[in-house]
């Protein structure tokens, strides 16, 4: 029935186009639509923005722009400088140098499965990938190039006007279409062939240690019924291991700092004091490749991350209630917050996290530098 309606729709649409376009370009010269190749256990409910459907030409252009150093003031860096494929599209640094070596103040986020995320940057200030993609170009601590200059550089290039024409039907470079093309390429960065994925699909078995880690990862501890848990899956949800996609529900204060040292985080966007110290829960896909960790890159290893959640949680006014309320032992509320995982359990969670590494993703030629 659905295909019938679609068929009828296509017929009507083409009739319409024919009648309007007489004597102009033939109708079949638009960009070629493509669908996102995703496993069936990634949600179908996340819709593609209607004003930026995925096309072959859009993705090709976006990939070039992602690796285009002309988009930085002095021509030395591109998006890919801080988002390197072999490191799960992160850069291995606590803070990333922009042009002239200016350091930012946030850790460059790893990129994958972005279609299922709805707020971008650690503090959530961009509502779409299209919006997000443009901001680092102009940011003085990143690529530091005024948008007008970016547009005129691309417009003056031999190839880009033709590529914009092919992707968006106009050879006029616009900031909107730069953002759209980058977003399209970024949506194709799907990581779904890790050992964890193969386990979901029933293709491989996990080792007993990895399986214990998986169980702990996805379990909120409940000492009254001897249910042991690592409490990770409360924020890193489901197969994607990323934050909740609705509103700001995927932002949390994960106990890095006490009230005196709490950064504003989400509060700087919402103005709500109860959002102070909340940051985006990132996807943990390829996490073993994306050190250092946290919004400020303060932890250099997964061991330090597990130690933090297990024994170094700092209480504050906005500490997430699911952390405040999580322990593997019955706690008196006056005691410091501790998860009470054993050393073996922490190691098991790390073993599970390592199954999230997707070698195919980090070496997929479709995502690599097209200028090489």
């Amino acid at each position: 029935m659905q295909s019938l309606i679609r068929y009828a729709g296509w017929m009507m649409a083409s009739t319409l186009l024919f009648s309007c376009n007489e004597g102009e370009l033939p109708v079949d010269q638009g960009p070629t639509p493509i669908t996102l190749e995703k496993p069936d256990y990634f949600s179908d409910q996340q819709v593609m923005p209607s004003d930026n459907p995925l096309t072959e030409e859009g993705v090709r252009l976006g990939r070039m722009l992602f690796y285009e150093k002309k988009l930085s003031q002095d021509g030395t860096i591109s998006c890919s400088s801080c988002h390197q494929q072999e490191k799960g599209f992160s850069d291995g640094l606590q803070f990333s140098p922009g042009v002239n070596g200016t350091l930012g103040s946030m850790n460059a986020m790893a990129l994958s499965n972005l279609h299922w995320q709805t707020r971008f940057f650690w503090n959530g200030r961009a509502v779409s990938l299209e919006e997000q993609a443009l901001i680092p170009i102009e940011d003085p601590t990143e690529m530091n190039l005024p948008m007008e200059e970016a547009i005129s550089r691309l417009q003056g290039d031999v190839d880009y006007p033709g590529l914009f024409q092919a992707a968006f039907g106009s050879d006029q470079v616009t900031s909107e279409n730069i953002g759209k093309a980058l977003a399209q390429f970024e949506r194709t960065l799907i990581s779904a062939n890790s050992k964890f994925d193969k386990w979901i699909r029933g293709e491989v078995e996990l080792s007993p240690e990895e399986e214990l880690g998986l169980e702990l990862f996805f379990t909120h501890p409940e000492p009254s019924i001897q249910l042991r848990g690592g409490n990770c899956g409360d924020c890193h949800l489901g197969f994607l291991t990323s934050g909740a996609p609705n509103g700001f529900a995927g932002f949390h204060n994960n106990g890095l700092d006490s009230d005196e040292n709490l950064n504003s985080g989400l509060e700087s966007i919402t103005g709500n004091p109860f959002d102070k110290g909340k940051f985006k829960a990132p996807s943990l896909r390829n996490i073993a490749l994306t050190a250092p960790y946290m919004h400020d890159g303060r932890f250099s290893s997964l061991e330090e991350v597990l130690d933090h959640y297990n024994e170094h949680i700092q209480n504050s006014e906005t500490l997430d209630v699911l952390i405040l309320e999580a322990s593997n032992e019955v706690l008196d509320p006056s005691e410091p917050i501790r998860l009470y995982l054993s050393a073996e359990e922490k190691q098991a969670i790390i073993a599970f996290l390592q199954t999230l590494t997707d070698e195919e993703f980090v070496s997929n030629p479709k995502f690599s530098n097209p200028f090489n």
């Binding site: 909120h220 009254s224 489901g238 529900a249 709500n272 109860f274 209630v321 699911l322 309320e325």
Partner: protein, 240 residues
């Protein structure tokens, strides 16, 4: 091409049928909306401080619940509309309405639905849509769904410390079916059924819960969870 002519016929028919004013359309558009409240006030997450039936102050961080197996009944003619594949994840700042779409016309005067998901759906998590286990409602990987989730914080009376209150209520015994009378629905007329949840009812009637007196402020099973299940079975959702 044949398909299209049917489509045109259908459109044509839709227009011509307007001429006969007294004829009740065969179908009517129905949607159900949910307004969440606490202490008689509209719920707001993460900013407003509410008062619980116990008198304690409470800030809500998350409130989600499953509504499933929706049935509308016209008790005079004994007509029923039974929604198929009827699982809806509702929640504050998440989803507040169920679109039944065009359904057969009747003077529906009753709505029946369940809080939670039925035993069949609750025995598997390899599902899509509102039952997608990535929705933060599947429990511990492979053991069914949370039916009602309430998370928030309060000041504990004995310690005066900020304390989390976490209700994750599930399990088949807490699947609750509710029937409510409806008024104002007329056959053939588009209708919006307005329902209201009262979070207060998780804490009272018949079982009174005082967060500061709970042995554990995280409730994910066991006798307290079943008490909350009994509480939401009656009076938690009302016709507005």
């Amino acid at each position: 091409m044949k398909n299209i002519s049917y489509l045109f016929l259908a459109v044509l028919f839709a227009f011509t049928s307007c001429d006969k004013e007294d004829e009740t359309p065969a179908q009517m558009n129905v949607k159900i909306t949910f307004d969440n409240t606490l202490n008689g006030n509209p719920l707001e997450l993460n900013q407003e401080i509410f008062t619980l039936p116990s008198g304690e102050s409470f800030m809500v961080k998350k409130f989600k619940y499953y509504i499933s197996n929706v049935i509308l009944t016209d008790s005079e003619t004994n007509t029923q509309y039974i929604e198929t594949d009827s699982y809806h994840l509702m929640g504050q700042d998440f989803n507040s309405s169920i679109e039944l779409g065009m359904i057969p016309s009747a003077n529906y005067d009753q709505i029946t639905f369940s809080i939670g998901v039925d035993e069949v759906a609750n025995s598997r998590t390899d599902q899509t849509g509102d039952l997608d286990p990535n929705n933060d409602m599947a429990w511990n990987w492979n053991s069914g769904y949370k039916f009602v989730v309430l998370e928030g914080e309060f000041i504990h009376e004995s310690t005066q410390e900020r304390t989390g209150l976490v209700f994750h209520i599930g399990n088949n015994q807490n699947y609750a079916t509710v029937t409510l009378p409806l008024s104002g629905l007329a056959a053939g007329k588009p209708a919006s059924i307005s329902l209201e949840t009262a979070i207060d009812e998780l804490f009272s009637n018949p079982n009174t819960l005082v967060p500061s007196n709970l042995a554990s402020t995280t409730v994910m099973g066991g006798p307290v969870a079943d008490q909350i299940g009994q509480n939401y079975a009656d009076g938690f959702i009302k016709a507005n």
